[in-house]
């Protein structure tokens, strides 16, 4: 029997309705809130956001984090994924251990790294005991912005590389072994094989991983908040501050809309730049 044409639509209708109610409606409300000047349409909230002392720093910090964290994570995940592929025994176990950080909430992850890196944390205790430092050293305050930045990078890499890894491992497993073998036979070096065979065939997975990870990175908040508080301003952190401390929902909404616009732009860029021609796959 032929399926009626409307059946697929009927089946996805509940999820669409659910998303519309819990995502699109608040989204619309946020956008409206951000352009509401009391008497109709106004860009005052955006002007206030852009004029804020912390805004350029937050923007710069957020982009710097994304620019450093994403390439590092993708490179790391690629190396880890390819290493897993070479293993014959214990793969599942290693993969499982590597993905443990995924089970830790981002705030908890931030607190873990705080315990390590704060003035009297594990790192300083260790360095003190082996005689490298003579007393508590601060890494996480506004006088040490570079150290703070790298502390956040480290925590983010520890926390969220696994999600890239999982997507890439799934992708690597989908590449038939025969392609690598053919490349071996015809004399490709490991590097050439990686560049000319593995990487192009991994493009769909790379694209998914990049989109997902980048969007999440622009929304980074809890880890930064735990480690640096307001010493390291970022976009979502500013939205939080305007919402809760300044009680100014309009400017907070403007920040939220900005983060969403940036994420959307990043997604579009990835989709365009890594366009996968269906005829070149499979």
């Amino acid at each position: 029997m032929l399926q009626p044409r409307w059946l697929p639509y009927l089946l996805i209708a509940p999820s669409v309705a659910f998303l519309a109610a819990l995502f699109l409606v608040p989204l619309g409300q946020t956008i409206l809130l951000s352009v509401d000047g009391g008497q109709g349409f106004s860009l005052a909230n955006y002007a206030r956001m852009a004029g804020d002392l912390n805004f350029p720093t937050a923007l710069r910090n957020t982009f710097a984090l994304v620019a450093v964290v994403i390439p590092l994570q993708v490179a790391l995940a690629l190396v880890m994924g390819l290493m897993l592929q070479k293993m014959t025994r214990g793969r599942e176990l290693v993969l499982w251990i590597w993905t443990i950080p995924l089970g830790v909430s981002d705030l908890a992850a931030g607190l873990v790294w705080l315990a390590i890196l704060q003035d009297s944390g594990y790192l300083n205790t260790l360095l003190f005991q082996i005689g490298v430092i003579s007393g508590p050293t601060a890494y996480l305050n506004s006088e040490t912005p570079v150290a703070l930045f790298f502390a956040v990078v480290l925590a983010e890499i520890w926390r969220a590389t696994a999600i890239v890894l999982i997507i890439l491992v799934a992708g690597i497993q989908l590449i038939p072994k025969g392609f690598g073998e053919a490349a071996d036979i015809f004399g490709a070096s490991p590097w050439t094989k990686f560049r000319r065979i593995t990487l192009p065939l991994l493009k769909p997975s790379l694209q998914s991983a990049l989109i997902l990870r980048t969007v999440l990175a622009f929304e980074v908040f809890a880890v930064v908040y735990a480690l640096g508080g307001r010493n390291f301003p970022i976009l979502v952190g500013e939205a939080y501050t305007w919402q809760n401390e300044n009680q100014n929902y309009g400017v907070a909404a403007a920040y939220a809309v900005l983060v969403m616009a940036i994420s959307l732009a990043a997604t579009i860029i990835y989709l365009k730049a890594l366009r996968v021609d269906p005829e070149t796959q499979g």
Binding site: G178, I185, Q281
Partner: protein
Amino acid sequence: MAGILIDKVAKQFGNAVALQEISFTVEDGEFVALLGPSGCGKTTLLRIIAGLEVQSSGKVMIGERDVSSLKPAQRGLAMVFQNYAVFPHMTVFENVAFGLRMKGADQARVEAKVRKAAELLHIEQYLERFPAKLSGGQRQRVAVARALAVEPAVLLMDEPLSNLDALLRLEMRAELRSVLREAGTTTIYVTHDQTEAMGLADRIAVMQGGHIVQIGAPTEVYSRPATRFVGGFVGSPPMNFVNTVAASGQARLGGLTLASPVDGPIVLGFRGEDAKLTDAAGGAPFTVRVAEPMGSHLLLTGRIGDDLARVVAPPAARIAAGETLGLALDPARIVWIDPETGRTHPGA
């Protein structure tokens, strides 16, 4: 010089034995066909020679060099994979050019060699296409062209023509043969099509259950199979086997008396086209069940005693189902097989 020597190569996958101590040589420039039923270890043997699989024991030599522990690329060979392994993200041109590029050939040379290989395999009109837009047979020819383009000293082919229609296969077979002979390429060619093996090879190696049961010239394998299995596997129709009992050095089948090498139960093996039709009294009694006109000949299927037999008769012969004929056999064209071991008795 690029002969191949396989010395006591065995392979186990876990507890499963895929190859049991295989030894044979392929001379420089020789074309050897590996023939055998599905699962007998042909691909495994080829992969071990190529270096894609590590043998459990034994060694592989190519051109006087022990390559057992060398990487595939260092063995100086090309391969056509059973499942093609044509790169989906490269055009047909880039696929065929791949080996040349890896060897650092300049663009002019790449162009020339790719065109040549593509022409040979009739894929020149698809060079700019991606493999996803090709049929299975076209993709298979891309895989063959990729291997030929590097002009290897040793070429391993795993059922390279299996997906082509009969006519194209016949044509490709002939062209492949002449190109490889001209270039003096040492070739191992896996197939389970016995006519292909007969037509192409200098020698045929027949494999069964991880063994090579016989290796020899096509005519020798065809007319003097080493075992009952080889006789049944090579040739179409397969060899006929008739159970009989010999006494005093003679086996009698109706009016036909043949000298046998041993007394007791024995199996007579003969090819369908080697039997001459005589009257019922003057030969082995053959009761025809079906007569199929094949054009070039008449194929008779029937029984000798309890055993099934197929006999080739002239196309114009007037024979009806149910008739009983006599078969005369040339003693020089028969084999005697031990019913216990399945092996052919040596000698006449």
